[in-house]
Amino acid sequence: MSLELKNVEKKIGLETHIYQTNLKLEKNTINVLLGSTLAGKTTLMQIMAGLDKPTNGEIWFNDKNVTGVKVQKRNVSMVYQQFINYPNFNVYDNIASPLKITGVNSDEIKTRVGKVAELLKLSPMLNKRPNELSGGQQQRTALARALVKDSDLILLDEPLANLDFKLREELREELPKLFEDRDCIVVYATTEPSDALLIGGYTATLLEGKVVQHGRTLDVYNKPNSLHSAQVFSDPPMNIAKIKKSGDTCSLLSDEVKWKINFNLKDGEYKVGIRPHNITTYKEGQNSLEISGKVLISELSGSESLIHFTNGELSWVSLSNGIHQKNVGEETKLFMNLDEFLYFDENNKLVTNV
């Protein structure tokens, strides 16, 4: 079982919403679509589901061409950001609704609904209406309705975005377990890199309608094929600086900071990307580069410290474990983990392979 998008493109009028995309999603995988708000995640998911037709290209499901097949004929479930439930049905009827439409007998409905409700901890509230439930419970109801169908393709469009911070954490942890024993393909759209990392599976990074990279989540995170993929997959945002390489030394274009690199690279100008947690107030890793900075602001979040600082004309963000209180304007030393530097050429393609 697999879902394949072949040369799929979507244009509305003169605007291209999705650029030519080739994507293959395998059975029993959770695939995260990671990108900012208007990157095209929802459009892509609607095309995958059959809610929308691509302008060009084909959709193949299980080696059958399903392009243009209406969503009612595909076996698809979708969960949205806003908790969508039938307001006049109670939880039981909400979950049972897709089964009732396809004419499943009531005994089987009872069993299946019971199982899914148990999985999503909804058993005590089967008699309540959506407006009597909290946000988290409403979203669980929507999830239960999506799961009870035993669909081949389950699409989740930022399902946790409207939930409180802690609820989001809880539900995010439960999600992979919900899909464990099912034979289906799951697609999960989100703007948060931490969602992708904690859910695991595969990730496709999207930027302005283009799928920039697709692969195992940790691979895409550790080896972004381009600057764009790295930027999408970074929270807080990645630090990017222009550097110059000559001989075996690299230096920041602002000149004072120099270091040696131990792999082959043509001389010239490049961009280097460093994630904030690889710049710390203490030495980390074998290969570290000391940099002095003037503190702009320090944000302490209980267990971590985010320090914004400047070095010459460049601004950087560092994320250190523990509490490191710094005053505005203070001169301080920070350490960058050279092993985690990502080098990109002028076409924004990755050139390191550390």
């Binding site: 954490e169 703007t191 890199p193 931490s194 990392l197 209980g302």
Partner: protein, 354 residues
């Protein structure tokens, strides 16, 4: 600018109150100093927005008083209290330009045009809105509009306190981070009292000098982000702050000895009596280490978030999460855990035993 004192504040949206649940706020007592950055943190429905509206004067409390600089302002409206409030979604005057939006509060107070021009330009520069001053306000992005809302509060030089009601709700995630740091920077620059309501711990902990944690209409703990993180006084605070939250495990206390499932645990506590119906040990995932000896657990799952690893383990008394460095080797199958005794606490009936 002023000192804010809340005395015995309680509020109910119902005309008569028969039980605990009828109250939206119960017995709130707080004293906030001039110029500080404060946060009200809690899950949906805990009463934080109610409290904010009472402080700003948009809501009259059922019981209790509010004092600004030791003067009773309980019966005064927002204009008389001289406050500014920024709401969850941007509230701007659609038909006016950015400049006119910012000038509006000053015009209504009869300030001279010259002074208005100077003030508006000053604030626009601080908020990086100068280039859009003559554009229609309705054409800006969500974060631009929120900046306008913020600007309207800042132009008034006599504002006592600026209140934020979950202001980053509609902002794009990658811009959220920037606006968040900007707010902190702003506070450092202008030193006005700011009160920030949110359910997002990162926002609260990075912004505020002091955080008030609320749960079910009551204040559970007040402290600096570090205090709340390192020593939660209530299991709710332990669970709510930290991502993931504190591990809470049932324990037995016998003659001053604490044990979890027979294994002795050392903690920072002075145990005199034990007449609690429920005793638990609380330890944060950041303060647990793998070792050759200790509490036996089974390793369930290892998640990599890029900056650290989260290990899900299971002991006989319940699940325990551990945070380890990205570079650490995690044992597989079974392992032993050691708790850092300086950060291990004992809770009796949910409150800390000191």
């Amino acid at each position: 600018m002023s000192k804010i004192t809340l005395q015995n504040l309680s509020h109910s949206y119902l005309k008569t109150q028969n039980q605990k649940e009828d109250w939206a706020l119960r017995n709130v007592n707080i004293e906030w100093q001039d110029g500080g950055a404060y946060a009200l943190l809690g899950p949906s429905g805990c009463g934080k927005t109610t409290l904010l509206n009472i402080i700003s004067g948009l809501l009259q409390p059922t019981e209790g008083q509010i004092l600004f600089n030791d003067q009773d302002v309980t019966s005064k409206n927002p204009v008389e209290r001289n406050i500014a409030q920024i709401f969850q979604f941007p509230v701007i005057y659609d038909t006016m330009s950015v400049f006119d939006n910012l000038a509006f509060p000053l015009k209504n107070r009869g300030i001279s045009q010259q002074e208005i021009d100077q003030k508006v330009n000053e604030i626009a520069e601080m908020l990086e809105l100068t280039s859009t001053l003559h554009n229609r306000a309705s054409g800006l992005t969500a974060d631009g509009k929120q900046k306008i809302s913020l600007g309207r509060g800042l132009v008034r030089s006599d504002v006592n306190v600026i209140m934020f009601d979950e202001p980053l709700t509609v902002i794009d995630p990658h811009l959220k981070w920037i606006l968040r740091s900007k707010l902190k920077e702003l506070h450092q620059k202008i030193n006005r009292t700011m009160i920030y309501v949110t359910h997002d711990q990162t926002e609260a902990l990075t912004f505020a000098d002091q955080v008030v944690v609320m749960h079910e209409a009551e204040i559970v703990q007040t402290g600096t982000p570090v205090e709340l993180f390192e020593k939660p006084k209530h299991t709710f605070v332990g669970h709510f702050i930290g991502s993931p939250g504190m591990n809470i495990l049932p324990c037995k206390i016998d003659n001053g000895n604490i044990s979890i499932n027979g294994k002795k645990i050392e903690a920072k506590v002075n145990l005199k009596e034990n007449n609690f119906s429920k005793t638990e040990v609380g330890i944060r995932p950041e303060f647990i280490e793998f070792n050759k000896d200790g509490l036996p657990v089974k390793i369930l799952k290892v998640s990599n978030t890029g900056r650290h690893k989260i290990v899900d383990t299971e002991s006989e008394s319940g699940k325990i999460k551990v945070i380890a460095k990205s570079s650490d080797e995690i044992p597989s199958g079974s392992a032993f855990l050691n708790f850092n005794k300086d950060y291990t606490y004992v809770y009796g009936d949910n409150w800390i035993i000191e």
